[in-house]
């Protein structure tokens, strides 16, 4: 299958906003995806992992702009 890149998807999800807070607000160049916090993850563990429909905010910030990963396997 060929990877089709939607222009929308080229804008990366904001790593700060996905952790809960981004000081740039509406002026941010990254995409702010609004989610609800996963209660289980908040308590410490969610068996749904990356499939969970609620947010699992990560702790560490990415060190630098990671390049767009293409999963072509």
């Amino acid at each position: 299958m060929y990877l089709h890149v939607n222009p929308e998807e080229k804008v990366r999800e904001c790593p700060w906003y996905s952790r809960g807070f981004c000081k740039h607000g509406p002026k941010c160049r990254h995409k702010h995806i609004k989610k609800l916090l996963c209660e289980n993850y908040y308590l410490g563990f969610c068996p749904e992992g990356p499939k969970c429909k609620y947010g699992h905010p990560k702790y560490d910030l990415p060190k630098e702009e990671p390049e767009i990963k293409l999963d072509l396997q």
């Binding site: 209660e39 289980n40 993850y41 908040y42 308590l43 410490g44 563990f45 969610c46 068996p47 992992g49 990356p50 699992h56 990560k58 702790y59």
Partner: protein, 73 residues
């Protein structure tokens, strides 16, 4: 998805050993997608035990307090 779960059950009551496949152990899995606060399976199990123990103690204390206040009044 939680609608048919008893209200007082939490993720602390879920036995991590009850998962047939532990997706967080699979190659390529990111354990922080599943565990918050740097928990690992081991530390999470210990933490749940402590949480449940504390809850049990608190509810016992509640019973004792209730008993005492009934008998002091």
């Amino acid at each position: 998805p939680t609608s048919n779960r008893p209200a007082q059950k939490t993720i602390y009551d879920v036995d991590i050993e009850s998962f047939e496949d532990k997706p967080w152990l699979k190659p390529g899995a990111d354990i922080t997608d599943y565990f918050n606060y740097n928990f690992t399976e081991e530390t999470w199990k210990a933490y749940c035990e402590r949480q449940n123990q504390m809850r049990a103690e608190l509810s016992n204390q509640g019973k004792i307090k209730g008993y005492e206040s009934k008998n002091n009044n």
